[in-house]
Symmetry: C2
C-alpha cells in the first residue's frame, strides 16, 4: 500500500541504505545517487515513515502538550503560539486534555508509549509534582505558567505571581483606594495562593488600607459573577483585584447588574490580558502576562533539555505590566 524505502531503492537501482542516506541530513551520498533517488522518490510519491525511523534514532519529534485550561480564553493564544512555535522547529504537538483528573500517572504512561521527546505542562493550577512525574519518568519537561520555586526540580517558565499580586496592590494604592480586596480563583490553585501572598504582602506596609479576601470556585465567568454578587450584598470593597480576567468579567457583570458603575462605584483589575479584555464593551484594566515570551522560553527550554538531558532545572520568570483601560479610576 504505502511506498517504502525498498520500493524507492528498487526503482532507483540502489541499496536501501542509499535511499535512507539521501533523506538523512548530513549523510554521505554522491550527487549522482542522490539525484537518482530523489527522482524515484518523487515519481513514487515517497515520504519516509517518521515513526519507523524513530525506532532507531530514538527521536520522534513529538512533544506532549498537556493542559487542563481548556476554558480559559487566554489558552487559545497559548495553543496557537505553542503549536506554531513547535512546528517552526519541526516538532509536533501531541495534545493531552487533562480535564478533571490530576493524577499524572496516566499521562506519563501514555506519553511514554508514544515516546515523546519532551513534554510541556501548560497550566497555572497544577501542582509542581505533576511536571516532576514526567521528569522522574525520564521525559524532558517544562512547566509553563507554573509556580515559582527557588529550588525547582523541573524547569518552570511563567510570571512571578507574588510580584503580580504586589503590582495589583500597588496599582490600587496609587489610585487612592482605601478598601481593597482580592477575589481569587480556587483556593488550592497555586497561582491564586501566590497572588494573594503578594497582594497582602504589599498591603502590610499600608495599615491604613482595609483589605479582605474571598475565593471564587473556579477561574470562570460564572464563578466570578456569583462571588461578586455575594460580596455586593455584604458590603463590597472599593476596588477588587480579581485573580484572572474571566473572573473579572464575571465580577464586572455582577456589579453592572446591581446598578453600580465601574469604575465609579467599584474598581476592578484583572490578570492575564486575554484578547477579549481589550474589547471596548469590556475594556478591562488588567495585568498583562507576556504569553509569547513565556511560550518561546518554554519551547527553547524543552528543546535544550532534549539536547542536554541533565541540564540543571531553571526558573524563568517574565515581568508583567499593568494595562490601563477603563475599570479602574484614573491616577490622581
Amino acid at each position: 500500500m504505502a511506498i517504502t524505502l525498498k520500493d524507492v531503492a528498487e526503482r532507483a537501482g540502489v541499496s536501501r541504505s542509499a535511499v535512507s542516506r539521501t533523506f538523512t541530513e548530513g549523510a554521505s551520498v554522491s550527487r549522482k545517487t542522490r539525484a537518482k533517488v530523489e527522482k524515484a522518490a518523487a515519481e513514487l510519491g515517497y515520504s519516509p515513515n517518521a515513526l519507523a525511523s524513530s525506532l532507531t534514532t530514538g527521536r520522534t519529534k513529538l512533544i506532549g502538550l498537556i493542559s487542563n485550561n481548556f476554558h480559559n480564553p487566554l489558552f487559545l493564544e497559548v495553543f496557537d503560539l505553542f503549536t506554531r512555535g513547535l512546528q517552526d522547529r519541526g516538532l509536533r504537538p501531541l495534545l493531552v486534555n487533562l480535564s478533571a483528573e490530576t493524577d499524572p500517572k496516566q499521562s506519563v504512561r501514555m506519553l511514554k508509549q508514544y515516546s515523546v521527546d519532551g513534554a510541556i505542562v501548560a497550566s497555572s493550577t497544577l501542582s509542581p509534582s505533576f511536571a516532576e512525574a514526567f521528569k522522574d519518568a525520564g521525559i524532558p519537561v517544562v512547566h509553563s505558567f507554573g509556580r515559582f520555586s527557588t529550588s525547582p526540580n523541573v524547569h518552570v517558565v511563567g510570571i512571578d505571581n507574588v510580584a503580580a499580586g504586589r503590582m495589583a496592590a500597588e496599582t490600587l494604592i496609587a489610585r487612592g483606594y482605601r478598601r481593597v480586596a482580592f477575589l481569587g480563583g480556587p483556593e488550592q490553585a497555586t497561582s491564586t495562593q501566590d497572588r494573594a501572598l503578594g497582594f497582602f504582602g504589599a498591603l502590610r506596609e499600608h495599615p491604613e488600607i482595609d483589605v479582605s479576601i474571598s475565593y471564587a470556585s473556579a477561574y470562570s465567568f460564572d464563578a466570578g459573577r456569583v462571588e461578586m454578587t455575594r460580596l455586593l450584598m455584604t458590603g463590597p470593597a472599593e476596588a477588587y483585584f480579581c485573580g484572572d480576567d474571566v473572573l473579572s468579567v464575571g465580577a464586572l457583570s455582577a456589579v453592572q447588574e446591581a446598578g453600580l458603575s465601574v469604575p465609579g462605584d467599584i474598581g476592578i483589575i484583572g490578570l492575564n490580558d486575554m484578547d477579549m479584555a481589550r474589547w471596548q464593551n469590556i475594556n478591562l484594566t488588567t495585568i498583562r502576562q507576556p504569553v509569547a515570551e513565556i511560550i518561546g522560553a518554554s519551547i527553547e527550554l524543552v528543546v535544550g533539555t532534549i539536547e542536554t538531558p541533565n541540564r540543571h532545572p531553571e526558573t524563568r520568570l517574565f515581568p508583567c505590566r499593568v494595562i490601563e483601560r477603563g475599570t479602574l479610576r484614573a491616577l490622581p
Copy 2:
C-alpha cells in the same frame, strides 16, 4: 535505557511473543504465563512502545487535528471537545496549526510521515479540496464545520449555512425590521458565501425589505468594528446579521461607541453562540451551532472510516437555533 519486551521476557522466563501476547487484546495466553508476565512488567515498569507496534499493526491511534481558527473563541470549546472525545476512544490528537498557509500538501505529507490513522479538518473557512487532499492520500478524513455539498467527496459534518442564513433573515423579518444587512466574514470563506446565499434567498420573498451586504476582512473583533464604523458613516441598516459572534461583538462595540443603542437603534444577530456571547455585558442574540453534536459525529465518522475505508462520503448537518438575548428588539 527504556524497558523493552525482551527485558520483561527474560525476567518472566518466557519468550518475547508471550509478553507481546499478554499485552494484546484477545491473544492466546494461559493464566499462568499472563500472571508471570504481568508481575515482571509491573516490577520493571514496562509499558509497550505504541510506535513500534504500529509498524506491524498499521495502526498508530494518532489522529491529525487540523485547524486554522486559532483566534476564534468557539474553538476553545472545539479543541476541548475534540481532545476529550478522541481520548475517550483511546485516540491521540496530533495538532496541526495551519495559520496562514492553505496548501494542503505539507500537512498531508507530515501526517503521512506520522502514519496517522485519520484526520479531522476543523475549519469553516477552508475549501473542500483541502480535506480531499487527505482522502486522495489515503487518509480517512472528516471535514468538520465544512461546506455542505449534495455530492461530497469527503465526509462533511457541520451546519447548513444556507439554512442558518435563512434563519437569520427570518428572525429579523419576524421582528419587523425593514432595512437589514449581512455583515459577512471574508468574501472567500465558504461559510460566509453560504450564509449570504440563505440570507438573501429568504429576503427575496420580501421585496418590501431593503437588504444590503458587506464583508469584514476577517472573522475578528477588529474587522467587525472597522466595518461597522464604516457602515455607520454611510447610513446603516436597522439590523445586521453578522457572520460570526466575534464579528458581532466588534460591530456592537462600534455601534455603542457611536453613541447609538443596541437594540434600540440598531439590532444585531450573530452566529456560533461562543461562550462569551452569554456574558451579560455582551448578551448577544445569536444562532447557536450545536458544537458538541458536530464534534461527536465527526469523531464517529472518522473512526467509522478507519474501520471501513471505502465507506461512502456522508454529509451530516445539524440544525441551529436562535438564542434570544439582548441585541435584537423583541418580537411584536
